[in-house]
């Protein structure tokens, strides 16, 4: 079949990529573009939807359909698209501010509904596009333009948030770890329903080296394997067990000196769009408008 012929190159749009030199977004873009052919879909069947932010520029660089929408609303827009067009592969690319600050509500509702969209959250723990204010994932005490004395906000743990919202697929990867990132993308794509993927992304301008603890010191990476003990955390991984996934989401470099990467949770649950489609299929009535408007008490005047 023809799609086998597609390569990463064919997923590059003609638009000049405009992230800062050295930005982690480049590596993620490259990984996604080279993964795309695996979907086995023609490019016109794929849509990338984003909000606003550096990360949200992503769709411009993909030779697919795409919408660079407004800040925080991508999950809602993607929901409408995915529900009305189950034939499409819909991807949301978002930042930590876009998805967890202004867009937090749309994110958790998409997760609980289990709409068939794949959410890639590029977490650089900063507001890049607006020039470096702290974000909901920035560590407490962070000194930024808007917090000269250090931020007093306690950060979200994005994976905990997703799990608290009853997400069916939750995973984490690292921008420069192409194999790890690719395998997570593969699992996410296979999953029916909403997949939430946090990707550690370096913002070398406003929050450089934020993830060196797993970048340079590879030994701090804890690649999760279903059924296997998760390092020395004392936790045996079970992708289908809620409490386990949650416990693993609390494992951080600060608490355990290691950071779990890979799939935290992956369970099957009917996706929202499947259920909607089923209701349409099973709906009673002939869909005859003339008989509808003429139904009930009517009377003739002549």
């Amino acid at each position: 079949m023809s799609e086998l012929k597609l390569t990463a190159k064919e997923f590059k749009s003609d638009q000049e990529v405009r992230w800062c030199p050295g930005c982690g977004d480049y590596a993620i873009l490259a990984a996604v573009q080279s993964f795309m052919p695996e979907l086995g879909l023609q490019r016109e069947k794929i849509v990338f939807v984003s909000g606003i932010g550096c990360a949200a520029r992503f769709p411009y660089y993909m030779q697919t359909y795409g919408m660079h929408s407004i800040h925080g609303r991508a999950p809602a827009i993607a929901t409408g698209l995915a529900v009305s067009r189950p034939d499409l592969s819909v991807w949301v690319v978002t930042g930590d501010g876009d998805s967890l600050s202004i867009g937090g509500n749309h994110l958790i509702h998409a997760l609980r509904r289990n709409v068939n969209i794949k959410i890639l959250m590029l977490n650089n723990q900063i507001y890049g596009l607006t020039k470096g204010q702290y974000s909901p994932t920035s560590e407490q005490g962070k000194v930024t333009g808007s917090t000269p004395m250090g931020s007093v906000d306690y950060p979200f743990n994005p994976l905990s948030v997703a799990l608290g919202a009853d997400a069916t697929f939750v995973a984490r990867a690292l921008d420069t770890d192409k194999p790890g990132l690719t395998s997570v993308l593969r699992r996410a794509a296979k999953h029916t329903g909403t997949a939430f993927v946090e990707i550690f992304q370096n913002c070398n301008i406003y929050n450089d080296n934020a993830f060196d603890f797993v970048r340079d010191e590879k030994e701090n990476r804890l690649y999760l394997e279903d059924g296997a003990p998760a390092g020395d955390t004392g936790i045996t991984h079970d992708e289908t067990d809620f409490a386990t996934a949650f416990a693993l989401s609390r494992v951080t470099y600060a608490t355990h000196g290691v950071v779990p990467l890979g799939v935290f949770r992956d369970v099957q649950r009917a996706s929202y769009d499947e259920l909607v489609a089923a209701q349409l299929a099973n709906a009673k009535g002939d869909g005859d408008l003339q008989s509808l408007v003429g139904s009930g008490d009517t009377w003739a005047i002549d």
């Binding site: 016109e44 769709p59 919408m67 660079h68 409408g80 698209l81 009305s84 408008l289 009517t298 009377w299």
Partner: protein, 608 residues
Amino acid sequence: MAKPVEQLDSVVIRFAGDSGDGMQLTGGRFTAETALAGNDLATFPDFPAEIRAPAGSLPGVSGFQLHFADHDILTPGDQPDVLVAMNPAALKTNLGDLPKAGTLIVDTDAFTERNLKKAGYESNPIEDGSLEGYQVHAVPLTSMTVGALKEIEGVTAREAERAKNMFALGLMSWLYGRSTETTKEFISTKFAKRPGIAAANLKAFATGYAFGETSEAFAVQYQVKAAKLPPGRYRQITGNVALSWGLLAASKLSGLPLFLGAYPITPASSILEELAKHKAFGVRTFQAEDEIAAVGAALGAAFGGALGVTTSAGPGIVLKSETVGLAVALELPLLVIDVQRAGPSTGMPTKPEQGDLLMVLHGRNSESPVPVIAAAGPGDCFYAAIEAVRVAVTYRTPVYLLSDAYLANGAEPWLVPDIASLEKIDVEFASGNNETFQPYKRDPETLARPWAIPGTPGLEHRIGGLEKANITGNISYDPENHDLMTQLRAQKVAGVRVPDLEVDHQEGADLLVLSWGGTYGPVHAGVGRVRKAAGKAAHAHLRWLNPFPANLRDVLKSYDRVLIPEMNMGQLLQLVRARYLVDAVGYNRVTGKPFKAGEIAAAVEALQ
């Protein structure tokens, strides 16, 4: 021996009682019987705000007014001829509207110490003579109902009592010579699962009817002849149902699957609820987490080639503004329906107002032009929805459709449309060709850009809210391009083809009354009264608020004076004065109640 029958040409009846007394049901049924009798009619259900007030309290009063006649009428009537008051609170809150000599039917059983106190009566108005001057029929509705239902199996006293509204309905049905068949059917089907209750209500209904026949209290029976309406099959319809069905029609006419993104809010919720019933029409209804998600999902669906619609009322419409602004930049079809209610802020959720016109025109950041249409009556909501969709789809633009809380719930007889005869809505999706695709290359005629939906090979493209270069659609910060795109967006909307304004001119009239939206009925009736009183006035009603009909300027200039009645502080007034520099004056009342024909007539006469 049958009682004498008196002919009337029109009657206004108001049923008023506690929220628990089933006045909406009673009114609805009487309306149905009246419609079947061939009268023209208009109704005004006036139930309390979202809260359920305690039984018997003043805020708990629920009312339903029905105006029916042997001729063409346009409003539920300024004041009732007959008031049915089921308890003291209902009497207290409604008596003021009943003209002296008006007919008053009260349930004496409800006038207990407790209820009187709740309504703030020192003494019992039925006994203290304060009802003098009215034709009072003091009837022990409750006890007669309970009495009549004694022998019925398995009906509790409470249930028997609750059937008193059917007694009242029966009585009124006799009084106006209504056929009782449909109501009996209705009761039987409604309570099919609970035969005891069905029997109780049927019995109560029959007893009330019989009471009318036999009681001394009612000397005559009234008759209102059928009205001469255009021939055809009629039904009753409320604005929100008509609007919902109009969307179904638009979906059918355009061949686009309907996607409704909505978040519940009074008085728009019933559109979501009506459309949710019609999945057989391929309708997808999405109850979103909030209004922003609702419009976002509708826009996403539109990007995918669906007919994207979102519904709300003021407090929710305002939240959609940013996303509508995105739709303006994306130039995708999107229908935003605003069922207006009284504000500001939460305001009075169940009451109508025309306060959102300037918001939908100007409530977005920067220059963000959007067409706006307003429905004129309950039945017109059907056609307004189709027109709105036609423009949205043809010009690839968001469109606002304005209704209001009065149209939403008000009912009127409606000529059942012949679906086959409705004009199709042409939709043409872009299809691949060899040239590179240019998402912002416009149709020279409509200035619409191509609608290229995902799944179309070769048209992969990206759109967004940043300013785009004309034709290519690439991001552009070029100053001249921004000025050009701003002009093009404005021209596209200004160029939307809307029908010329029709004027109901009167020979010799130098005053034009210009109205819009839900006030058509009272304004037209008001002008009619002026004419009856030998005054002179022309009337024109605007359907499209943006763009204005091409002939509006000439129409305005051909009158010496222009009066613009609005249920706001003068919003259309501002637009008309600014655009045409005519010294139009406003009649502005913001009470949360629909205009009365009488006040409009008075306002017009004040200018004669």
